[in-house]
């Protein structure tokens, strides 16, 4: 299946793009997607401990199952206001 990965703020700048498609085996979970992203985009390494993950606009735990077409967002620490 294919999902869409969104990068924001520092993550967007380090990845060099605002979004990218990601191919994953059927049955993949959030943790599998993160492993794949980390492998393909080592520039994100320093951010990794601080990132939160949202799937389709809601914060998602590592064991959440992914579906075809899901939108997975990498969210650095927030600083609105």
């Amino acid at each position: 299946m294919q999902i869409k990965v969104l990068y924001f703020a520092q993550a967007r700048e380090r990845a060099g793009r605002p979004s990218a498609p990601l191919e994953l085996p059927e049955g993949s979970r959030v943790a599998d997607a993160l492993t794949a992203i980390r492998r393909s985009t080592p520039a994100l390494d320093p951010l990794w401990p601080h990132l939160a993950v949202a799937v389709d606009g809601a914060l998602a735990p590592a064991d959440q199952a992914l579906r075809e077409g899901a939108e997975l967002a990498l969210l650095p620490p927030v600083s609105g206001g």
């Binding site: 969104l6 924001f8 939160a52 606009g57 914060l59 969210l75 927030v78 206001g81």
Partner: protein, 141 residues
């Protein structure tokens, strides 16, 4: 209703909307873009958001603020993109019959906003260079 805007925040309109005859108290917080941070001179500020999630989070924050405090209304507007110095990046407007809950709610909403809404601020320095402001992790993975 929460809003994300890319132009000046019309605070006077928000206050006008909140000023209903049953509300004796309106508490307003305006976050302005500031020309310094941690000793460095800032010349420009930019905000970025995960827009659908940020808008939903702001709407949820408005509702949660209304349910936690004895208030009549809570409106939150955040600006995105470049915000010129001394202009508003965010406005929180709370109306209530009495002033104490209005103050408390406005302050609580603003503190929550800073730690729960996917918006990011980048500062551009006079000495050159730019940095994303150190923020608050949204949640442990």
């Amino acid at each position: 209703m929460a809003e994300l805007v890319r132009a000046s925040i019309d605070v006077a309109r928000l206050i006008g909307d909140a000023s209903r005859p049953e509300c004796g108290a309106v508490s307003v917080f305006i976050g302005n873009s500031r020309d310094h941070n941690e000793g460095r001179k800032v010349v420009r500020l930019e905000y970025e958001a995960y827009e659908p999630m940020a808008l939903a989070a702001l709407g949820k924050l408005e509702r949660e603020t209304r349910s936690r405090f004895e208030i009549a209304s809570c409106r939150i507007v955040h600006r995105l993109g470049e915000v010129p110095l001394a202009e508003a990046s965010v406005a929180v407007v709370v109306a209530a019959a009495h002033r104490q809950p209005a103050f408390d709610a406005c302050q609580w909403a603003m503190n929550e906003l800073k730690r729960t809404v996917p918006i990011w601020k980048k500062e551009f320095f006079a000495e050159g260079g730019a940095e994303w402001v150190k923020g608050t992790s949204l949640a442990p993975r």
